[in-house]
Symmetry: C2
Subunit: 136 residues, 2 copies
DNA sequence: TTAAAGTACTTGTATAATGCAAGTGCTTTT
DNA sequence: AAAAGCACTTGCATTATACAAGTACTTTAA
């Protein structure tokens, strides 16, 4: 059997995602990058879920190492870093959309606007293109 | 702002999924139920990733509590319990398929048959129906 | 009817991950 | 040159996970 270069527990595709995203925080950073136009450490810190500083630093580093996000110096303010999704990270969009749809269906307290679900059910591709456009 | 009955960190749909599935093991059990025809504690234990007994017991209980899986006495062998996905659990299928597709694209060592990706890209709905049929 | 085997856990303990508060270091603005 | 902003790092307490061993109930076999 071929072996994964990093020593993952198996070569299962579900496991591959768990090795990167299998914790309570990593996906929230992706969410902030993808849907909330957040770019910097300080912005990620302000999210509702209240990630702590050491965990955030650790996860940002891991997202970079996994090729999901990149870190650059902000051109406007050179004391600032900004993060952005790579193509690999942007490819996570369909998963994020399906997750959102599942939660909308199964959690009455989920705060997603009805318009989102309507757009999603009407035309997933159009919604995806629109979201990806916003990231440019 | 309306509050979630269980005190989750926020009312975000991404967070809702993380509160249930945000660890390295829970989703593997769903995978085994959904794709590998596994039903019992002993079968889950044998998966490649080698979950330990206490974690497995804990996660099965949490999956039941979250309404993702149900536990019943096996009709063939009354000393045995079997687990099955609820409708809520089965609704996770689109997420699982997208995760699989993402890993296939971004991990060269992922062991998913090409036939799966072909079927997925050709007709997601047909593939979903086929998988759900197998669960009956 | 009792003993052995199967199944599903539970418990104890060591190690690792996370949460929280405080502190550091570099950059820009005043 | 001092203050403020930003992005972390460090230390320590708490919680989660890993691993090995043990328990309890049920069914099969003698």
């Amino acid at each position: 059997m071929k072996q994964n270069s990093e020593n993952f527990r198996s070569n299962c595709p579900i496991n591959f995602v768990l090795e990167i995203f299998g914790d309570k925080w990593t996906l929230l950073i992706v969410r902030d990058l993808m849907f909330k136009s957040k770019r910097s450490y300080g912005e990620f810190l302000q999210s509702n879920e209240k990630i702590s500083t050491n965990i955030l630093a650790d996860r940002l580093q891991k997202l970079e190492a996994a090729g999901i996000a990149i870190k650059e110096i902000d051109k406007q303010n050179k004391s600032k870093f900004i993060y952005a999704l790579t193509d690999k990270g942007k490819d996570f969009l369909p998963i994020m959309l399906e997750i959102t749809a599942w939660s909308c269906k199964h959690d009455a307290t989920t705060n997603t606007p009805d318009s989102f679900i309507e757009a999603f059910e009407k035309d997933k591709l159009a919604l995806s293109i629109q979201i990806l456009d916003n990231l440019k």
